[in-house]
Symmetry: C2
Subunit: 234 residues, 2 copies
């Protein structure tokens, strides 16, 4: 059996992408729609989220996956950024699942086999109970797909644009994530990190992860000197 001392060394606070630690900002309608789908698998069959880098698309998609897995429902998460390691044939039977989550759709634009597979999935979904959530950096028209029929199908989905947070919201978002991790981050320190370290949520979240681990290891609170040292802000 482990002693309490060994135990504490094993702990690394995890940071999963869930709805609870997503700061909604202006994306209330989108988040409610995703929550409805994961709660009851009803409503629109295909949801398409477009948004710039660091706008939280992947976070929302993984949150939807977590919700289903938590309810012991089958779920499939397919980030197409990894498309070279997987094959489009994997999509064939997936419409027999309750939910498919496709991340980074723009990564397969111009790849005929993948575009055809996605077109077929879209059509098969109409005759199934499956829901499909897609994310991409841009709207269907703005992505260089070869297949016009795929573009027209994607334009017929429920399209949401993920609205990035403004600076004040990013500070609140950072404080929310700190709170869900069980660490104290004051508004003053959050503002300081935003102004002196980074302004995009991916970097901010990664910074918080580092602060979290080190503050736990060193049993330090998130004071300004501690934050400056860990994040190497001079």
């Amino acid at each position: 059996m482990k002693t309490p001392k060994q135990l504490s060394l094993d702990v690394q606070l995890h940071d999963e992408a869930t709805f609870d630690n997503y700061f909604v900002g202006e994306n209330g309608a989108l988040v409610n729609c995703l929550k409805d789908i994961t709660a009851s698998q009803t409503g629109e069959r295909v949801i398409y989220l477009s948004g710039p880098k660091s706008s939280g698309r992947t976070h929302l998609l993984q949150a939807a996956c977590h919700e289903l897995a938590k309810k012991q429902q089958p779920v499939c998460y397919i980030p197409l950024r990894a498309q070279l390691e997987i094959k489009p044939e994997m999509l064939d039977g997936l419409t027999h699942m309750p939910l498919i989550c496709v991340d980074d759709l723009e990564c397969v634009a111009g790849d005929d086999a993948w575009e055809l597979a996605l077109f077929n999935v879209y059509n098969a979904i109409a005759a199934s109970n499956c829901r499909l959530i897609i994310t991409a950096t841009d709207t269907p028209n703005a992505i260089n797909f070869i297949r016009k029929d795929l573009i027209s199908r994607l334009n017929a989905t429920l399209l949401f644009q993920v609205k990035p947070l403004n600076d004040a919201q990013k500070i609140q978002a950072l404080m929310l994530r700190a709170k869900t991790k069980g660490i104290q981050l004051t508004e003053r320190i959050a503002k300081y990190i935003l102004e002196h370290y980074a302004r995009d949520m991916s970097s901010l979240t990664a910074a918080l992860d580092r602060l979290d681990v080190l503050s736990f290891e060193q049993r330090s609170r998130l004071t300004l000197p501690f934050v400056k040292t860990v994040l190497d802000i001079s």
Copy 2:
């Protein structure tokens, strides 16, 4: 923009199944094997975990899924307890993925279509880069499968028995989960909960979730009177 007060009401500490909040106990070899697979997708192609209810099978399987999703790798989680809502055809193309996680295999024993689909997946995996992790309540021989060929294939996998925790380990496990949630749970209180509320990890974890939410809402520490009230221990 939300005020800090509104913000705090939105927070509900999440509790995902990750490797970080899994108390290893006697399952070190198994956990290392799963971590290796999710880190590099090398080694054994099919891992079979058997263990009684509440031994942590689903936790480990979902932890493997989280690891891959976090690395933006495709992953598929299929709890067969939900097999009535899904169809065996969904397995057809899945061996083109890096990892398939099948939970509750015993639920489809006796269902010829599912047994055949799993047999085909097993055979297809030999010619793929896919890894398959299966959990079940029991070893292949002890489950009432119709197909003898499926039983023989499953017996050829890397078989692990998930060892349930003893009481002292459950107390440590509960303290680990509390710590990853950022709440203070003393050994004395953890022991009290085990002795007066429940002895299985599922109930203990659910109790901790409740204590977590209410202690946050009521801004109370996990004292003995607070725990007794929340868990209704008289």
